[in-house]
Assembly symmetry: C2
Homo-oligomer: 127 residues x 2
């Protein structure tokens, strides 16, 4: 799906191949396919790519919560990796669990079909 009129995805999101699937008030769903350039030294989906997918989905969830006219920035984020990904697509769902005036607390899950790949929790600043 498209972002609101006048908004564009980041160059980095385009580089990775992230695709926005759903955007609601405080919720974003973004998918990523395991292309060759996203592999780590063991041939799996790189942890940095998984974290980037999470950060991108979290940022969009924040924008949908406070409005795309206001910018936000990641202050901190913690991620747990649960399962390696060898091929196919993953889906990240990010949810704002506390939309404060100065900071937003966000959580995200990355799934491949019914299997949990990673779980993250972060804080974004409203700029």
């Amino acid at each position: 799906m498209d972002l609101p009129a006048g908004q564009t995805h980041s160059a980095f999101s385009e580089l990775l191949g992230c695709r926005l699937q759903r955007l609601d008030q405080g919720v974003a769903e973004v998918t990523l396919s395991l292309e060759q350039h996203l592999r780590n030294r063991a041939g799996k989906l790189h942890g940095g790519a998984i974290f980037s997918l999470v950060d991108i989905a979290m940022g969009l969830a924040c924008s949908s919560a406070h409005g795309f006219d206001q910018q936000s920035a990641t202050i901190e984020c913690k991620i747990n990796y649960i399962r390696a990904v060898s091929d196919g697509d993953v889906l990240c769902t990010a949810r704002v669990i506390h939309p404060g005036r100065r900071t937003l607390v966000v959580e995200a899950e990355v799934y491949q079909e019914q299997k949990l790949v990673a779980k993250a929790q972060g804080t974004f600043a409203v700029l």
Copy 2:
């Protein structure tokens, strides 16, 4: 500098443009230049790219600690973002602070010149 003979950087590391500067027992230094494709929606170095740099440096620090013949994988990592990067290079230094038999605890700092950009702490599993 080059990796040990027979070792290659990951496809994802090449995609980002990470460059290994130093590799010692349990220590890795990796640099990244802010190219156009690494920018976020605000035009700064994307938080996902910074995290990826950290994860790549941490993985190399782990490999240098337990040997490149053994694989390791990120279990979890926490990152704090301190300063935005608008252009130029950043340097990540990752250090293994506990080289356990089953897990390694690693910390990393990302600097632009004398200014701290991000600080991270993570755990890697020995596979």
